[in-house]
């Protein structure tokens, strides 16, 4: 069932590079990462690519396949015609280190800026209680495997390096939303999300949701609700005052950070 797959793989570094042409033998049921590995083992020992689990769980092998942001380990060769040439390039929004490996430190720097979870004290028996339905919202966001494909496609930064300092990106909006919806958290990060993280710059084109390999509804379930929560805080003085005086509802016991 094997055949010779024609591939074009970007080789190079920060100073520049080119697509290299390769032909590699592949088998039934394989994914693009298998083809890349076989290239490494037989033709290009120094071809740089990140990968870990090869099962869609770690989010390391992000790249662009025929221009579409994908996980290499979850992109099956059977999705393409056998005669088709598959082109693999590094993700575009981050600086290239070498070949398919890019510098994703932007995401780790932005993650450092999110104030940590700060829970209420435990119950008397030393445990905590939360309802399943209350944790499920946050659980959806915590499925994130940090492949950063959402960061890669987000047009706010994709070809706009200048926006990066003021914009944390969809991955981090998930994190803000998750904490804001956590039943036991005591921090109020809405102001921070809006200003420091640049939530306001997102104009909900849903590119991030479309590429998420975990099928997290980033825009509908995290970003839009977060925008609404920010708007509540900003524009409704009665709600704002009420929450300060009565400490009730969703906002009870939350302090702005």
């Amino acid at each position: 069932m094997g055949y010779d797959l024609k591939m074009r793989v970007w080789r190079g570094d920060a100073s520049g590079g080119d697509l290299g042409d390769y032909s590699v033998e592949v088998e039934e049921g394989e994914v693009v990462l298998d083809a890349i590995h076989r290239l490494q083992a037989t033709q290009a020992g120094d071809l740089a690519v990140r990968w870990n689990c090869k099962a869609g769980k770690c989010g390391s092998c992000s790249a662009e396949v025929n221009g579409r942001p994908r996980l290499l380990c979850m992109t099956r060769l059977s999705d393409f015609e056998e005669s088709e040439t598959i082109t693999v390039t590094p993700v575009r929004s981050f600086p290239v280190i070498r070949d398919l490996v890019t510098d994703v430190s932007f995401n780790y720097e932005k993650a450092k800026e999110v104030p940590a979870f700060a829970p209420t004290p435990r119950d008397e028996d030393g445990k905590r209680r939360m309802a399943q339905q209350d944790v499920e919202r946050g659980q959806e966001f915590r499925k994130c495997i940090e492949c950063f494909l959402c960061q890669n496609v987000c047009h706010v930064v994709r070809d706009h390096e200048e926006n990066k300092p003021a914009f944390a990106g969809p991955r981090l909006f998930l994190r803000y939303a998750e904490l804001d919806m956590h039943p036991l958290d005591t921090n109020d990060r809405r102001n921070l999300a809006q200003n420091a993280a640049g939530l306001g710059m997102c104009n909900i084109t849903k590119c991030c949701t479309e590429v998420c390999p975990e099928n997290i509804k980033i825009t509908d379930n995290a970003i839009i609700p977060m925008k609404e929560r920010v708007a509540d805080r900003k524009y409704d003085p009665v709600v704002w005052l009420g929450s300060k005086i009565f400490k009730r509802g969703d906002r009870a016991g939350r302090d702005e950070v």
């Binding site: 570094d13 920060a14 100073s15 088998e27 039934e28 049921g29 394989e30 994914v31 298998d34 490494q40 083992a41 037989t42 020992g45 120094d46 071809l47 740089a48 690519v49 990140r50 990968w51 870990n52 689990c53 090869k54 099962a55 869609g56 769980k57 770690c58 989010g59 390391s60 979850m74 099956r76 600086p95 280190i97 070498r98 070949d99 490996v101 994703v104 780790y108 993650a111 450092k112 940590a116 979870f117 829970p119 435990r122 030393g126 445990k127 905590r128 209680r129 939360m130 309802a131 399943q132 944790v135 946050g138 659980q139 915590r142 499925k143 994130c144 495997i145 940090e146 904490l179 956590h182």
Partner: protein, 633 residues
């Protein structure tokens, strides 16, 4: 990089990588850092150790081969075993301790098993404190699920992606505490202070994968948390990182390994398509009702219930079925026997010609549970089979077979402090040995990481404070030798060997000759083959330069894989008895004398390429007050 930098002219413009290797062999040319504790590895154990050491006041560095958050822990699926008693109030540490010891066929270090059972509930609650969102019971507590070998439902879980939740929680905690992380940085050497009678850790040597530049850490304490060895096998659930780095570093530093022959083959890995062969299918599938069937449609596990577990295992389909609804009056289905038992049974069925079309057996949850239940409880299994194998597990059975998953053996450590034989060198998690005996129960790994990661971190910090006023001896020539050693594959003369080819050949040898069922002649042959591979490895060459060069990285990892494989094969040949994750076709019975004996491996010369030595050691005896837990009622 200032203009005064002598190497500036030969540096890579973006990464600052010095492209001229001669420049780098000058010791003052290396980037260097001072820490109290250096943690090698950023999986569950490494992160927990770093947090503990930081909390104890130490200056801590985490050094890891991959990006932060990508370590192998991320792949753990089922859950964290802890006797919180949220689902069954009868559960307590004593029952968990007993299950763990029995699952390990009593070859466990009893003290580690005890500490583990006692401390894991608090370690789980701590994760919740740091933001983990576990699935809940109806009254809002952390939910706990059934797993093989555990008497009560005791695994705290998040669907079937518990490892991801755990690593993200620990990662976010470590980031919040401001702990320094050196990502994509591989440790190749641990330095010891040789001037003293007993060697003591003085630092570590590493290279940045991104640039190929070297970095020196001066530190009195090093915690190894590097995980396992699975990449030495062809069919494995383990990622590329699992090359036995910590095992090899420990040996070369003068520490010892115990019981390396005990390798866990998880009973259920994917078998098809070939590209995903070995990828894990969580035990939760069976815990949640999945049944194993052969090509005749028989639930064959009923034919493989060992004497040892007869009293607690259902022997009819009716009783096994009854257990799902009424756990008090029915015994557990045989599908939930410990992993070694199930893996051997599957292996036998396949060998007897009753396998599935692609050489596995069938795992069927679709005929017991509805689609909604399966998608909610096993979302990533659903996703994995759908995306990679075109199989809808809510409608049809999965095909599964054994896959190399975990090594029970590892660095010999003190049970309370996790210190190895070398002062200042600690090991926690999969890289450490003893805790799981001859077979690990599912769910006990994640809890192991937390319990012993924390203990190792505390001990490492304490050790650093104790010796704070003593200067670290880290001689330049040792540093220079490490650099030369790491660069060797770039300048080998004569015949040349490709690291990828040697790795493939090693995987073939280990899979064929040191696999799930072993024999003396095959094991002896494997040792001969490993020697040949070691010889070939002397001629490893890599193409290209030092910047992010996977061929070079593999060449360096390969020497670790070879040492570790030799340890496994040698100990497997020596232990002439079957027990847990070590099955000898020529010695099928669990000899009681062997059941009280550890096999200890050392590398007396400390040199890569030299042979490991093996000796016998009596297993530490369990105190009398714990004995009654093992008397059958």
């Amino acid at each position: 990089m200032t203009s005064a930098d002598p190497g500036a002219g030969t540096r890579h413009p973006m990464t600052g990588n010095r492209m001229d290797p001669a420049e780098e062999t000058e010791p003052h040319g290396f980037e260097s850092h001072d820490y109290d504790v250096v943690v090698v590895g950023a999986g569950g154990a490494g992160l927990r150790a770093a947090i503990a050491a930081h909390d104890a006041g130490a200056r801590v560095a985490i050094v890891c081969k991959s990006l932060l958050g990508k370590a192998h822990t991320v792949m753990a699926e089922g859950g964290i075993a802890a006797s919180m008693g949220n689902v069954y109030p009868d559960d307590n540490w004593e029952v968990h301790f007993r299950d763990t010891m029995r699952g390990g066929k009593m070859l466990n270090n009893w003290r580690m098993a005890q500490l583990h059972a006692q401390e894991s509930p608090e370690r789980v609650l701590e994760l919740e404190e740091w933001g983990a969102l576990f699935d809940r019971t109806p009254d809002g507590l952390i939910s706990q699920r059934d797993f093989g070998g555990h008497r009560f439902a005791r695994l705290a879980h998040v669907g079937d992606r518990t490892g991801l939740e755990m690593i993200r929680t620990l990662q976010q905690r470590a980031v919040a505490l401001g702990i320094d992380v050196f990502m994509e940085c591989t440790v190749t050497e641990i330095f010891t202070d040789e001037d003293r009678e007993t060697p003591s850790v003085s630092g570590a040597f590493a290279y940045w994968r991104e640039t190929g530049r070297f970095v020196v850490f001066r530190a009195p304490s090093v915690v190894l948390a590097t995980g396992g060895i699975g990449k030495s096998y062809q069919v494995t659930s383990n990622s590329w990182e699992y090359t036995g780095d910590g095992h090899a570093l420990a040996l070369r530093t003068g520490a010892s390994l115990i019981n390396m022959e005990f390798v866990q083959f998880h009973p259920t890995g994917m078998v098809w398509p070939p590209s995903v062969k070995g990828i894990l299918v969580t035990e939760s599938v069976r815990g949640d009702g999945g049944a194993l069937k052969n090509s005749d449609g028989d639930r064959f596990m009923f034919n493989y219930i060992p004497e040892y577990f007869k009293s607690e295992t259902a022997d009819t389909i009716e009783e096994a079925e009854g257990w799902y609804a009424d756990k008090k009056n029915n015994r557990r289905p045989p599908e939930l026997l410990p992993r070694d038992e199930v893996a051997r049974a599957i292996n036998s069925e396949i060998k007897a010609g009753r396998g599935s079309p692609h050489g596995g057996v069938f795992l069927d949850i679709a005929s017991r549970r509805d689609a909604e239940f399966i998608r909610r409880r096993l979302p990533s299994m659903y996703h994995q089979f759908k995306e990679l194998a075109d199989v809808d597990i809510t409608a049809e059975p999965m095909e599964v077979g054994p896959t190399c998953h975990y090594v029970m053996g590892g660095v010999e450590v003190d049970a309370d402090t996790e210190q190895s034989l070398v002062e200042g060198l600690y090991a926690a998690g999969e890289v450490a040995g003893g805790m799981h005996g001859s077979n690990r129960l599912g769910g006990n790994s994640l809890s192991d990481l937390l319990v012993f990661g924390r203990r190792a971190g505390h001990s490492a910090a304490y050790h650093a404070f104790k010796r704070r006023d003593r200067p670290l001896n880290l001689p330049d020539d040792a540093v220079r030798a490490s650099a030369e050693h790491a660069l060797a594959p770039f300048s080998v003369e004569g015949p040349s060997e490709n690291p990828y080819t040697i790795q493939k050949d090693l995987q073939d040898v280990m899979q064929r000759l040191v696999g799930i069922i072993r024999k003396a002649d095959e094991l002896a042959e494997s040792l001969v083959e490993i020697e040949k591979l070691k010889e070939r490895a002397k001629h490893l060459t890599v193409e290209g330069h030092r910047q992010y060069n996977p061929g070079w990285h593999l060449a360096l990892d390969l020497s670790n894989m070879l040492i570790v494989s030799e340890c496994i094969a040698k100990a497997a040949l020596e232990r002439e008895a079957s027990r847990g994750g070590h099955t000898r076709d020529d010695f099928p019975n669990p000899d009681p004398e062997w059941g009280a004996r550890n096999l200890v491996l050392t590398l007396p010369s400390g040199q890569v390429g030299d042979s490991v030595e093996l000796k016998h050691q009596t297993l530490p005896g369990m105190p009398e007050d714990l004995q009654p837990l093992f008397e059958e009622k």
